[in-house]
Symmetry: C3
Subunit: 276 residues, 3 copies
């Protein structure tokens, strides 16, 4: 079977409007053999960090050669640039507003080009829908085999944003926060094993975690290990500490959500020191 | 044109997270020529019966050879098995939790294999996202032509759940309930013509149905036969008795929903007997 | 690479049920090589004008030869016809209820055929799900190359509905209304530059627009030109006047929505005449 170029879409467009359909039409008009795959269109409107998270969770599972198109674009029509980022396995097309920051963190070999060559854009060029007029055509031409350097100059001053990192607020506490709440009410924090060595799966049954007023004991490896409705922690499939409930919504039970504080009590194994 | 393997997805993942995109990436990484088709990602979280209903309504319309991947998986990370079910026309990949029960009911020729051969799984294998690490790879390898027997032993003790069936509660009444409410507010009951011979479309204009306090007369064959806002019954496209309104929501008008009781009054043609 | 027939879907089915999946199964069963693309499934239930708007915004971006399947079908099961409309670049399959009206307005060369040849339909033919039993098969056979004339007679009495047009209510005021509110809270009106010459992008900075009690000054060319939270107007990517806010929801700020009145004050450049 012939190779088919894959183009993924990650946007804050939602699915109630024509936006996603229009973008797909533009891509197929340039590259009719494209295989277009939705990663997610429910990025929080204008939230580049949320877009970066959704993309980071999924992109590395796609075949080498995939073009990842990412549009969370509060600055559409302003001077912000359009960029093409190239890693060992993938090409990314996005506005230069930090939405690729987690890619920059994770990928060692990275080149970024401006996408400024207007003859690749749709004409007339709107100032309000660059996904249609700039990003989709650039992604389609990349999928067609046009080299990133054809779209514009290589740049090094592309915008990086720092995702919020957990802080050690005292000798015994790592403080993070909830990055996002998933469909099942699981609270995905920004805390990783490297932030809190105690989170390593082995022997951490007595770790304590605090969300709001609630103290949670222990870390399990599967949702099904908890009793139904029990709230506990796991190391989730995105690599982050998650506060979860078995067949229930931790978010509802804890009345917690995006940006809620999550404290990991590192000295919990020692007697009482950090428990109120 | 070359044959393209079709893989459908039915899950409770919703569309707000990266889950569906990640699963598609895994499939395409193994089988780049796959045609992935969403059946539905809005199965009620953890509800295997609801997943079974969504799948049962759609699966038989796909071409022979389609692989149907179904993930509603409250037991992820527990001892529940992953299975491959093979019928005359299709292959199904799912957790062994009953989510295929309606397939088992409808398909005469059926073989079920365990999917336990770990060399087909993604590594490292998480205990929280088997759709990504187990089910998607197994579906992709099936689409690639790997025989079901390669994934594990044939089994006969796979889990079946009995969907709720209508009961004859007295000589004149068949009692069922609402299985699901669709986008338009139609109440889909679990009552079929074989449950109540009186439901056969011919000559049944005087049949009576009771939902809550409301008695509904007659069964029509099309939504458009009712006056706008009128509540009436039809035999719906899924094969079940539906309580509907023309260009309106029966669910709203009747203040009824999932699990509401639906009584069919079989003797309605005889004078008055079952009418209060 | 071989040509793949593209079939787009625009419906009011939502994504919570099996409907869209079933329609895709039917298409692929007839035409396994079809590339099926969702334009939008969130058309307001039963609202043919809303369906027409969503379709009109996206259809022209697809490659020539695309088959556009549109199902917003309050009259399913009644005497309303199924039709195939052919333009220079596209084929459309839809119920004959006006859902293609904006296509009829925009396309000069147009032929419309009845789709009445039952041997193309699924059997048994339901009276409740013609998307599955009639429209999907017809779209698939069109994609397969069957000529529109094979499905039935050419007709000229197909149904057109007039989308609501802005009115000049006095010498100085064009009155339109909000057609739809998009994901970002932008209010899309039915006013185009041809309705109000003053809307032409050049030199119109002093134009005044009234939505409810609120008077808005000036028209910008990009969302990012406004201060965060500022409400202003742009000529949007669909060709209509939009009332928008930079990184905020104009709908929320103005407490306005679908069908809200939008007045363009044409004489705004002259001193004071139309300002209260």
């Amino acid at each position: 079977l012939a190779y088919r170029p894959i183009i993924t879409l990650t946007t804050d467009f939602g699915l109630n409007d024509h936006f996603v359909g229009t973008v797909k039409g533009v891509i197929l008009n340039i590259l009719p053999e494209a295989e277009i795959v939705d990663i997610c269109h429910s990025v929080i409107p204008f939230d580049v960090l949320d877009g970066s998270l959704k993309l980071a969770a999924a992109y590395s599972y796609f075949p080498a050669g995939t073009v990842h198109l990412v549009v969370v674009d509060p600055g559409v029509g302003s001077a912000r640039r359009a960029i093409v980022a190239t890693t060992e396995r993938y090409e990314f097309v996005a506005p230069d507003n930090g939405v690729l920051s987690l890619i920059y963190q994770r990928e060692e070999r990275l080149r970024v080009h401006c996408a400024s060559a207007e003859h690749y854009f749709l004409q007339p060029l709107s100032q309000t829908f660059h996904a249609r007029d700039i990003f989709a055509p650039v992604a389609a031409y990349l999928g067609k085999g046009v080299a990133p350097s054809k779209f514009g100059d290589q740049i090094s001053d592309f915008l990086r944003i720092d995702p919020p990192r957990p802080q050690r607020i005292d000798a015994a506490t790592v403080r993070g926060k909830v990055l996002t709440v998933d469909r099942f009410g699981n609270l995905i924090s920004n805390i990783t094993p490297s932030d809190a060595a105690a989170l390593a799966p082995t022997g951490s049954a007595q770790l304590k975690i605090r969300v709001g007023e609630r103290e949670i004991s222990g870390i399990k490896t599967a949702y099904a290990e908890g009793a139904p409705g029990e709230v506990f922690a796991i190391l989730g499939s995105m690599g982050y500490l998650e506060i979860v409930a078995n067949q229930g919504s931790a978010a509802q039970i804890l009345v917690a959500g995006r940006n809620s504080t999550v404290d990991v009590l590192l000295a919990a194994r020692a007697a009482g020191a950090n428990q109120e």
